[in-house]
Symmetry: C2
Subunit: 394 residues, 2 copies
Amino acid sequence: MEYYFSAKTRSLAPSAIREILKATSQPGVIPFAAGNPAPEAFPVDAVREISARLLERRPVDCLQYSITEGYTPLRERVRTDLRGRLRLGTDGDSLIITSGAQQVMDLAAKVLCDEGDCVICETPSFIGSLNTFRSYGVRLRGVPLQADGMDVDVLERILRTERNVRFIYTIPNYQNPGGCTMSLAKRRRVYELALAHGVLILEDNPYGELCYEGETPPCIKSLDSEGIVVYAGSFSKVLAPGIRVGYALAPQAITAKMTVGKQASDVHSAIFSQLLVEAWLADYDVPAHIRNICDIYRAKRDLMCGGLSAAQKSGALHFQKPQGGLFLWCELPAERDMPGVVRTALARGVAVVPGSAFAVAAGECSHAVRLNFSTPTDDQLRRGVTLFCRALEG
Amino acid sequence: MEYYFSAKTRSLAPSAIREILKATSQPGVIPFAAGNPAPEAFPVDAVREISARLLERRPVDCLQYSITEGYTPLRERVRTDLRGRLRLGTDGDSLIITSGAQQVMDLAAKVLCDEGDCVICETPSFIGSLNTFRSYGVRLRGVPLQADGMDVDVLERILRTERNVRFIYTIPNYQNPGGCTMSLAKRRRVYELALAHGVLILEDNPYGELCYEGETPPCIKSLDSEGIVVYAGSFSKVLAPGIRVGYALAPQAITAKMTVGKQASDVHSAIFSQLLVEAWLADYDVPAHIRNICDIYRAKRDLMCGGLSAAQKSGALHFQKPQGGLFLWCELPAERDMPGVVRTALARGVAVVPGSAFAVAAGECSHAVRLNFSTPTDDQLRRGVTLFCRALEG
C-alpha cells in the first residue's frame, strides 16, 4: 500500500547525525560524531541515592499521572535559580518543564508558526532544531555565523524583507556546531532588532554551564524587559540526557499556550525524572558537580586541540579553540573534498559529521566538519585525532 | 505585547478534564473526574527492586542518550508478546516506543495529516486524542457511539462524502468515556470500510487488559492483513502512567516516518522508564499482576454500580455496567440540566466530567456525565455515589 504523508513531514529525513551514530555504533569506531556526555560526568552515586529514597518514601508520586506544566517544586526551584544567578525572567514570565529542550523547539514551532511562516536561524545550526522547525512546514532563513555570533547586518536585512517572521533561533553560548559564542554587543543588537521588528527570539542554551575559560556573557533573556524571548534550558548536559528534562522560561501567555500544546503531545514529562532533578538540585552540591564536569571536558578539549595543532600549523585545517561546550568546528581548505574526508575518516575508524548536515539551506556549501570531544575516551581522543589527520592527507 | 499564535493552536483550550482535575485537587473533593490508576494497583516493590538493580549494574545506560525508536530489547519483547498473545502485527509491521500512547496520536496526526484534512472519530471520544488532532488543524467528523461500538452506517456515509479522510480513530475496548466495547462484527465492518475507502485506522487500546468479565474481542489490528491499522498501546494502565511509556505497532513505512517525527519532538522517551518496563516484562509475573489489578477495579466498579442502582431503577439516570476499563457513562433524563448537575455535584464535593467535554463537534448536545471508579478509594466511592445521587435530586 502507498501511504499518504503530510506535506510538512514528507521530505523530512532522519537527522544525519543520528543516522551516522547508528551506522557507527559498532565497537571499534571512534565517536567524534556524537554529542553525548562523558559517562564519567554522570553523578551516578547521587542518582542511586535519590532514586532509592524517592521510591522508598514517595513511590506513588514517582508513578502516578502528573500535571502538564511540570512538577511544581522543580519549576519553582529552577525559576528561582535562573533569576538569582543569571537574572533571567521577570514577573511576566513563567516556566514549564519539557521532555528535553528539544520539546521547547517543538512546542515553540507548534504554537507560534503557521505553515509557510519564516524562522530565522544561524547557519550552521543544530540540526535537531532545524528539523523540528521543518516538521511544522516553516521556511528557514539562515544568517551566517561569525566568530562572535551571527552576522547582524544580514539579520537586519532579512528582518526588513521577509514576511511573517515568527522568531529568531539562536544558540548564543558555545554554539552547536560552530563552537563560538555571541558577543554581548551582538546579543544587544539581536534583541533590539527583534524588538524593532516585533519578532520573538528563541534562545537555546544547553551549553551555558560548560564554560572552560573566562565567563559566559549574559543571556539575551537577561535583557528581556519587553517579553519577547523564549528561553530554552536543559539538564541533559549538566545532569543526564536520558532522563529527558528541559524547560522553557517565557512570557506567561506563551508558556500557557505551550502547555496546551504539550498536553496534546505527551500529557506530561516522565515524573520520576522530574522528582530526581528536583531532589538533586535541592540536596547536592550542583556547582561543585559542574566544576567537576568542566574539568573533565576542558581536559578532553585540550587533548583534541593539542592533537590537531600540528595540522592547524601546516594549514591542513583551521579551528578556533572553543571556550566551552562540546564541539570543535574544523574548517578544511576550500579545495579539499570535505565529504571525501568524512568517508575516509570513517573508513579509518573515526566518525565525524560533515558540516553540510548543519546547513540551513539545502545547497549550502560547507568545507567544515564537526568534531565532538565529550564522548570519546582520552585514549580514543588521542588515536582518533591521529587517524583523522591521516584522513586529511588522503 | 500581543503574541501571534498559530491558527491550529489559537482556539485550542486546555482539556476540560485536566482543568477540572486542577480545580478539584484540593483535599476533600471526591475524584470521580480523573482517570488515574488506583495507587494500590502500582507494582511498587517490583519498581523498587528493578530500579536498584538497574542503577547498580547499568547506571550509564539509565542516563545516557538513546535511540529514537526506543530501547531495542523492549521493542522486541512487546512485539513478540503482541504477536503471540493477541495475533497483532505482520512481518510488514514495526514497533516504536513513544512517550505514552498520547504521543502515538500526536505522531500519527503529524505525519498523516495536512491541515484541513479529515479524521473520523467516535463521538463521544477521549478528549486528549481529539485535542491532539485539533492541534494539527484537522477537521474532526464524529460517528455516534452505540452500545456495541460506532454506528457503522454513519461511518460509511461519512467515508462516501468526506474528502481527504486520513484515518478513523477508535477505542474499541471499554471506550473512554462511553465504557462500551465494539462487537467483533463491527470491528470487521470498520476494517472493510476503511480498506474499501483507502483510509487508515488508528486503534487506541489502553484498556484492553482491564477486562472484568467475559473476554475482550480480537483487536482490529489482528485483522490487518493489508497494512492499514496503526495500533496504539500503553503501559499507563497496567504498570504506571507517570513513566510515560506507550508504543505504536504499524506498517514499517509509517513507523519510519513517525520515528523521524519523534526525533523532532523529543529525541527519545525517557530511557530509565524503558529499561524499567523491559525488566518488569522479563522478570515478573505480569499476568498475575494484571489479574490482581482487575480484581481491584472490578470491586470498585461494582461498588459504584451498586451505589447507583437505586437511582437507575428510579429513572434518575441510566448506565450500562462496563465490562472493563475505568469509566462509567451515566446518562441523565433529557429534561435534566446536565451542566447544573455537574456544578451541584462539585458544590457537594464530588467532581465529575460533563459529557459535552467529549463531544467531537462544539454544539453537540449531551445529557451524560463520565464517572471514574479507579481513582477514588472505596470509602470515597461509597460517599461520592451518595452525594452524586443527591445532586441529581437538585
